[in-house]
Assembly symmetry: C2
Homo-oligomer: 383 residues x 2
Amino acid sequence: MKVKISGADYTKFGELWEKSPRTLILEAVKKATEEAKIDISAIEAVYVGNMLSGILGGQEQMGAFITTVLKIKIPALKIEGACASGGLAIHNGVNAILSGQYKKILVVGVEKMTDYKPEEITLGLMGAGADEERQAGATFPGLYALMARAYMEKYRIKEADLAEPAVKNHYHGSLNEKAHFQNRITVEQVLKSSYIARPLKLLDCSPVSDGAAAVILTGVDSSIKLRKGVFIEASETATDTLGLSGRTTLTELPAVQQAQKKAYKKAGILPNDIKVAEVHDCFTIAEIMAMEDLGFCQKGEGANFIKSKATTLGGRGPIINTSGGLKACGHPIGATGVKQIAEIFHQLSNVCGERQVKNAKIGLTHNVGGSGATAVINILKKY
Amino acid sequence: MKVKISGADYTKFGELWEKSPRTLILEAVKKATEEAKIDISAIEAVYVGNMLSGILGGQEQMGAFITTVLKIKIPALKIEGACASGGLAIHNGVNAILSGQYKKILVVGVEKMTDYKPEEITLGLMGAGADEERQAGATFPGLYALMARAYMEKYRIKEADLAEPAVKNHYHGSLNEKAHFQNRITVEQVLKSSYIARPLKLLDCSPVSDGAAAVILTGVDSSIKLRKGVFIEASETATDTLGLSGRTTLTELPAVQQAQKKAYKKAGILPNDIKVAEVHDCFTIAEIMAMEDLGFCQKGEGANFIKSKATTLGGRGPIINTSGGLKACGHPIGATGVKQIAEIFHQLSNVCGERQVKNAKIGLTHNVGGSGATAVINILKKY
């Protein structure tokens, strides 16, 4: 069995106070089913990526919640792994198809965040961390700031270097009408923005966003020799200690390295076969480390690699975060990993207009939970 | 590929104020790995069933939480479907093995509930329901009370009939040293207990419990002809509307009927092949409806069937809830569906001592989320 993507899309991400989770889910699923040219009644199961519906909204059992919204009665369940929930939902959907259990699966990622008070959101997000971190009051910007400091010291980069992924991702976001932020920014603007957790400033951080994404996965018999379309070649995940205190390093994410090794091997490709990727840039330092952990450049070279414009549209590639990434497209937690698949699917389908990467045949998504405790790598290929 | 259960067990369930989630997880996993005679380092992935760690404990990313507790670094994720979270974790573990992704999976179900205030627990559990129900203040006892009233009116049964499953399950629980309650009760005691939501009284309701359960699933090549041990023959799930208001009936759970049909078909058996089953008796009315929805007796006959002692140890069978069920063994939400598998595994392995069902070769677990929005049926067979 092979897993094909039949359709995928996402809603506009942003501060969508006028839209309920129901509206967002319906919008995303409508787009994906229309693109796949299938009726919702053809779907056999729903896998949901979501993190905070319980803590923020008091709503659990999001599987049945979503089938109720969609007016269908089919197997449905929620997968949670903090900010990697969407990627994990894809991973489980892929396995369910490969197991022979279902042939047509809808994966929905959704998060409604901006209706809540900032302190409620912060506390909810801290649920992704270790309790010794929560008890010490370490927020996620704080944890990534520790990584940024360690990285800056080890590899002698400056705050201006940190800013590069944000500048690139806002540029890409300016070409994506669904991005939370569509304004371009400069390194100077990043440097002038307020400190959130030194050395990370406001414009080094991804925003709190609302949004939903949907992907339709179809099982295709492996005996069909003439494969056509976009397929998920590998879906791999790995974990590390929940808290930073258990790690052997602060300047890389071992879970990402483990997951990518398994994924490249399964897909039978090398890092330089990747032409386009959506990576988990929750903070600018995260994208810099991702370049290295994914094998796109040497250790310590991530910032220079991004600064060289290799990963900017028109660069030598891989082109990173054409959607705008978490930084500019937005980061509705459970939706992010599913949106990444939708964006790469559209890139490989050559329908991205102004932000299209030329001749993209192989793409990757990199979705991270917490401060690197969960990593999910998916590799997509166009036949 | 076939899915074998290599080991499974659960902690004592109860009001375990002196035990943290970490302690419970370690205890359950130690028991299961010892029984399976494997080292934790042989496990390739962890699937976690849990509902309320976020709402009650502020802790999400339970996959990486548990691998951190176990000091291992392997793929791990949380599955949530309210009170069916444990059953769904098993379902996903089974599919992951059938997909060829992993060969040895640990499924952990865990819930820590009794450390919180009753109103916090009630509110958390209401997260399994529809928001129109939450807004109306309908708690779960209230929703099942509506079903009980409709059932009593339609099938002309009395409150004394409702009490029968509780009396049986406390009797079974008295033979299980891990049960939350090990005292026997009478119909009179049930009838004299306080009303919680008319017609359901305190002793018609399952308790709020702490506990953990662990199951080790192993992939066995289908080409091996001489199968030996306990295998999961079918794992099927279905959903219905989240809220009762969307249902066509209040006297049965259509999701259970759909899931059982698929499961019996896949396992190639009939309801009367089942010799032992763990069913989701969150309230006494739920076990009565389950007898009918699972095909163990005719519609409207559930109460009489239980009253006839057919389902009590020594009865003609199927023997129901030898663990004591949710009512007497306890109901630590995410642990329940995993505990059900452990109990049936032990029954089929003929190691249940005083509460052993004779010659049990085929068993079933029935795990329900919310007021019937999610149903998971697993069928186990001993070779």
